[in-house]
């Protein structure tokens, strides 16, 4: 009896194999597959932003692959989870470069992950377009395959400092950062410019603490600054600012784009209403951005997080570069795509984008926003306090 069953199973398997092989070969009957990879944290404390990057890219691939599909290519998205950890990002990067069909990487969320991972992509000239990494080093290394569609921390930090000094008119600031490449970098840029503008920097503290901020807040409360600046990401910034407010710190709050996520108020609640943050992610006010927001909500059932729009734009640029290099119906090499990306002129919901010779957008927009509600659903309604378009600084030699 048992032997019969074994044969039956084997026979079934054989039939299935025969039935499936031609099917998969039919799919590949076109000119081949073009894959676009994303790398962002899909699990852990920063997954809200990381998933936005993946979904923004997915939407762009699905809406804009038509031209390539018509020419017989299959265009696919391959999402990777870098867990916001440099070692995971690098391990993923090695898998990515091994898959010859992957022509572009859209990622990452964290500069500290993007920098070592892009060292791997660069080995094989695999182009990366970052929707969110603002650290200077991303592009200042001068790699021809590394680009970003957002602004830089050495501009974002000073934009915040200028806003604090000239608009908020604060006299003193207490600076705290998370000791990461991103958080400390932007906090240092903020501090330097604040000092230049005559704002007294009372302290510059780094911390990896995630839950108990009491001993850091007590000196802040005693020194009573006009402003507290936090260089870091919302999963740490939200409990820090919340505990500071609850402990009686009266200062105004300011931070960089790492705070730009609806999870900030989900964690911090009404204590964070009124907080200011600088960001390189465009607010969803333009008609194009509205359409993107509607499409996004229809497809995924939630509002796009910041940098989902930038991921869409980055993917659109990547697809345009690939289209321009599909010669004679053959998929292009990674190096030609990298070269073509630098030549793309694209105007989308975040404005006109054209890369300079380091891979920075020639002009990037920076926004200062203010949290207007403790309802995470209304994150998109945050008030725009200031907007600036600034050219990326030239490479220091």
């Amino acid at each position: 009896m048992i032997r019969h069953r074994v044969w039956l199973v084997l026979a079934l398997l054989a039939v299935l194999t025969v039935a499936l092989v031609p099917a998969s070969e039919l799919g590949a009957q076109g000119k081949g597959t073009i894959k676009i990879a994303t790398q962002s944290p899909l699990s852990g404390g920063q997954a809200a932003l990381g998933e936005g990057i993946k979904l923004g890219t997915q939407l762009a691939v699905e809406q804009l692959r038509g031209n390539l599909t018509k020419q017989g290519f299959k265009v696919e998205l391959v999402p990777f989870d870098d867990q916001a950890k440099p070692d995971v990002g690098v391990a993923n990067a090695k898998n990515i470069i091994a898959d010859k069909d992957i022509l572009v990487v859209i990622g990452h969320l964290n500069s500290g992950v993007a920098i070592p991972s892009s060292e791997v992509y660069k080995e094989v000239d695999l182009p990366m377009i970052s929707p969110a990494n603002t650290n200077e080093k991303i592009t200042d290394r001068g790699y021809p395959s590394v680009n970003r569609v957002c602004g830089r921390d050495d501009v974002q930090g000073p934009v915040g400092a200028e806003f604090a000094a000239l608009t908020l008119k604060v006299k003193s600031v207490y600076v705290v950062h998370d000791k990461t490449t991103y958080g400390q970098g932007v906090a240092e840029a903020f501090k330097a410019e604040a000092e230049k503008k005559g704002v007294k920097v009372l302290a510059f503290e780094g911390t990896e603490e995630k839950s108990n901020f009491d001993p850091i807040i007590t000196p802040i409360k005693a020194k009573n600054p006009d402003l507290v600046y936090f260089g870091g990401i919302y999963d740490q910034g939200a409990p820090f600012f919340k505990q500071a407010r609850e402990k009686g710190v009266k200062a105004k709050f300011l931070g960089p784009d790492g705070l730009d996520s609806s999870d900030l108020v989900k964690i911090g609640g009404k204590a964070l209403v009124g907080l200011y943050y600088t960001t390189a992610a465009a607010p969803s006010s333009s008609p194009q951005a509205k359409k993107f927001g509607d499409d996004f909500k229809k497809k995924f059932g939630k509002n796009p997080e910041p940098y989902a729009a930038e991921s869409f734009v980055a993917t659109a640029i990547a697809l345009r570069a690939i289209e321009s290099t599909v010669a004679g119906g053959k998929a292009p090499t990674r190096a030609t795509v990298a070269g073509a990306i630098r030549k793309v002129k694209y105007t989308g919901m975040t404005g006109a984008i054209e890369f300079d010779d380091k891979g920075d957008p020639k002009k990037a927009s920076y926004y200062v926003m203010q949290v207007s509600s403790d309802n995470p659903e209304k994150w998109g309604d945050n008030k725009e306090a200031q907007r600036l378009a600034i050219a990326a600084p030239p490479l220091k030699k």
């Binding site: 510059f204 020194k223 409990p239």
Partner: protein
């Protein structure tokens, strides 16, 4: 030198309070390590997850009440008591289950084996909680609903004020430590626990059911950990499945500092470590003019720990009443 003595003096009471709260939190967690060590001479590395499981049960109770619109309706001490009881029950039962499944079958094995089993349980629980919460709430970070009554600050003097929730943490910790003291020293069960800690074979000859007493030790230690978890959530507001690891490690250190296996030692160790950490974080940058910041708090606290252990290798209270869990 930019030392600001006036400022140092002014913030002293508040830093002291920060340290005491943190210290009691460590003390409550440290009890779980120290009681189990006292009885089995084994370090239960899964205790940090037993602790954070309590915090998760607490937040689920509070979120459940909030979802039904009952959070504001009930008086807050009742709500808090409910969350504490649930957290204690869940963590206590979890600890007993872990002992039954992962440690008891290995009791005769070489000492390293249950230790590895404990680390395995710890990883398993972290990711189990993560999986459960992502399926149930699609969330990684969970936020304790904030209750206005608990955030209210009482003015002690013109410059010192303290939030109601901080007082709740201190009072509940003291009550629980006192209750534990009574159980261990004044009841028959407590005598049995101490007997098993002293000599398992002799205790069983005297008619004590050793397995039951060991389960009971895990139950009490786990329940204390669960209570600490709920208090941790109430005090600091945000938890995730991995939040237990660092406090667990620090509490284990506190247990060693006080003399592992020794209950009053865990309390003293917790308080010393909490105070060291709070003072280092608040004072280092003021004292060194910004050269060493709050980020050095752990280095400072652990250097002191090493120094203490050099001069008192069995911990602060280790030799006085050793082996009396």
């Amino acid at each position: 030198m930019s030392m600001d003595f006036e400022l140092l003096v002014r913030i002293f009471p508040e830093v002291l309070l920060d340290g005491i709260i943190l210290g009691f939190m460590y003390a409550l967690i440290a009890l779980g390590y120290t009681m189990v060590y006292g009885v089995l001479e084994f370090i239960n590395f899964a205790h940090s997850e037993i602790f954070i499981a309590g915090a998760f049960i607490g937040v689920e109770i509070l979120l459940g009440l909030q979802g039904r619109g009952l959070l504001e309706g009930f008086p807050w001490p009742l709500v808090l008591l409910l969350a504490l009881m649930a957290g204690m029950a869940a963590s206590g039962l979890l600890a007993v289950t872990i002992e039954r499944v992962a440690y008891r079958p290995l009791r005769a094995a070489p000492r390293l084996i249950p230790l590895i089993s404990a680390i395995g349980v710890s990883f398993f629980l972290q990711d189990f909680i993560r999986l459960f919460e992502s399926l149930w709430r699609n969330a990684f970070n969970l936020v304790y609903p904030s209750m206005d009554a608990l955030n209210h600050r009482l003015e002690l003097t013109a410059t010192i004020d303290v939030s109601v929730k901080s007082l709740v943490v201190i009072v509940s910790a003291l009550l629980m430590l006192w209750a534990l003291h009574l159980i261990v020293n004044r009841t028959k069960v407590g005598t049995a626990i101490r007997a098993v800690a002293e000599d398992q074979a002799a205790a069983s000859l005297m008619g004590i059911d050793v397995n039951r007493i060991i389960s009971l030790t895990f139950l009490i230690g786990g329940a204390m950990g669960g209570a600490a978890g709920v208090l941790f959530g109430v005090q600091y507001g945000l938890i995730n499945p991995y939040s237990g690891f660092i406090p667990g490690l620090k509490a284990f250190t506190a247990a060693v500092l006080g003399g592992i296996g020794n209950i009053p030692g865990a309390m003293v160790g917790g308080l010393v470590l909490g105070l060291l950490e709070a003072f280092a974080a608040s004072y280092l940058s003021l004292l060194t003019g910004g050269a060493f910041g709050a980020e050095y708090k752990d280095i400072f606290a652990f250097s002191v720990l090493i120094l203490i252990l050099i001069f008192r290798p069995k911990g602060l209270l280790g030799e006085v009443v050793r082996e009396r869990a």
